[in-house]
Amino acid sequence: MSDLKLLNKARVFLDRLTSILVLITAWSTLIGMFLICTTVGSRYVFGYSVPGTMDISQIILVLIIFIPLVYVEKTGGHLKISIIASRYSKRTESIRALISNILTAIVFGLMSYMSMIGCITSFLEHEDSWGDIAIPLCIPKFFIFLGCLLFSLYTLGNLLFQVVDYIKTNGEPSKK
């Protein structure tokens, strides 16, 4: 039981971390918008483009793509074709969900692991962006790692709870 409590605590912590990151991403999008508009304006008026606009916008884009993975899952889920799945019995549906969760945890787990290696390699190699200012590429690579990791952990948590649920109810599909 105490294990479960610890798990719950970890989950609450992850939830909080994810929501903060999503908030940061949301506001970064607005900042990105202003940044691009500033460059457009200053190029038009002064013939001067703000250095790094493209690189910074790209980093923001990386945030936008990878940080909200968990948020999307919580608000309606990632897109799937439900033409057959919508007719599943509760039992089949729970199997589908189980497979989906296992795959997500594995694939995104691997992706986060590989992105971590990519991030570290990039850091050690001093890999910079090919723009008018050189930004270390380990920064966006770190965000990819982080986003995939959070998503994988979140699904792993769901999976654990699903299994615990399954054991508790002796194999009957849960109400949820």
């Binding site: 190029r43 001067y48 483009s49 493209m54 001093h126 090919w130 008018d132």
Partner: protein, 335 residues
């Protein structure tokens, strides 16, 4: 015995994956690799087939050296200048050393081979990335293609010019231009609508993106020589598995590509461009001699030193020594 037979059969039919960007039609790199693949098939009597994956379908332009390293691609043409951290000595420094020489197509080959003999760092630059260099070649002289005449410092003042990277904008700024970064794919739109007035272009890119449709003036800036930018490499593990005869054939062909084929393709592309440009009603200019000198004096040393300083911060061994030695081999006169 059966095993050896199977191996002999395998040795007979080898298919190698070559990853590239662009398409068969898109310029000198494509032409060069098609030639290499065809010629290799011909000379090995069809035993070695290179299958080309166009348009970044298995790896995009920026991914190519690492695609070869990982083995996703067996062979790829690498735009080395995009990866100074991987290929720092000559290829990576190309952007900063372009101003060094008045080199023309193929002029870099002998000095570069010399450099490989003298420095193991240069020799092993590809091995360190788990690949073997087959051929290398240069990027043609670059100039300014523009909507209005830009012939000298006076006319360059405030001209919005599209270019990319970290070094080239600094060089153009020194001549009074206002550098803008616009992706190559949007440059056509940008220049035809007057968002930028000029593009830093070579014959190859001007042809490929058809910038000559929107720009009527091309100014040659001979402070720029050609630049060592490309090489073609093969994954080292794949390489080691190839029979000796095939290896030799590939190396021989690579040298031919480096020394004869690529310079001649580039020259042809240059002539094509000149013809196309004139047919489209374009005019060529040359930057005046004295201003060339002044410009060069302003940027050469600082551009090189900037590069050296940056790379030294990245702990690249013997960088300054090697780059300076190369300059010497290219007959650059330090003042």
């Amino acid at each position: 015995h059966a095993n050896r037979e199977a191996m002999a059969e395998q040795a007979e039919q080898i298919e190698l994956r070559l990853a590239t960007y662009g398409s068969p039609e898109s310029g000198m790199v494509s032409e060069g690799i098609i030639w290499y693949a065809d010629e290799l098939a011909k000379r090995t009597k069809g035993n070695v087939k290179i299958k080309i994956f166009w348009g970044g379908s298995i790896a995009k332009i920026m991914e190519l050296p690492r695609a070869v390293k990982s083995g996703l691609a067996d062979i790829a043409p690498v735009v080395a200048v995009y990866h100074p951290e991987l290929f720092p000595y000559v290829f990576g420094s190309s952007q900063s050393t372009m101003v060094l020489a008045r080199a023309d197509l193929g002029d870099w080959n002998v000095p570069y081979r010399r450099l490989m003999e003298e420095f193991p760092e240069v020799r092993n630059v590809c091995e360190k990335q788990n690949q073997k260099m087959l051929a290398f070649w240069d990027y043609d002289r670059m100039g300014v293609i523009s909507r209005k005449p830009v012939r000298n410092f006076e006319e360059a003042k405030g001209v919005k010019i599209r270019n990319s990277g970290e070094y080239v904008p600094r060089i153009f700024k020194a001549a009074g231009f206002s550098p803008m970064s616009v992706p190559a794919t949007e440059a056509y739109d940008a220049v035809s609508r007057g968002m930028v007035d000029a593009i830093h272009a070579s014959a190859d890119t001007a042809n490929k993106y058809r910038w000559y449709e929107a720009c009527k003036y091309f100014t040659r800036i001979p402070i720029y020589g050609t630049a060592m930018v490309y090489f073609m490499s093969i994954n080292l593990d794949t390489w080691k598995k190839l029979p000796m005869s095939v290896q030799n054939e590939m190396l021989r062909l690579g040298n031919e590509l480096t020394d004869i084929k690529m310079p001649s393709i580039s020259r042809k592309v240059r002539e094509d461009f000149e013809r196309n440009f004139k047919k489209a009603g374009g005019t060529f200019f040359v930057w005046p001699e004295d201003e060339q000198k002044e410009w060069k004096a302003k940027v050469t040393k600082s551009s090189m030193d900037y590069y050296v300083k940056k790379m030294e911060a990245k702990n690249i061994p013997r960088l300054k020594e090697i780059v300076y030695r190369f300059a010497e081999l290219m007959d650059y006169q330090w003042r």
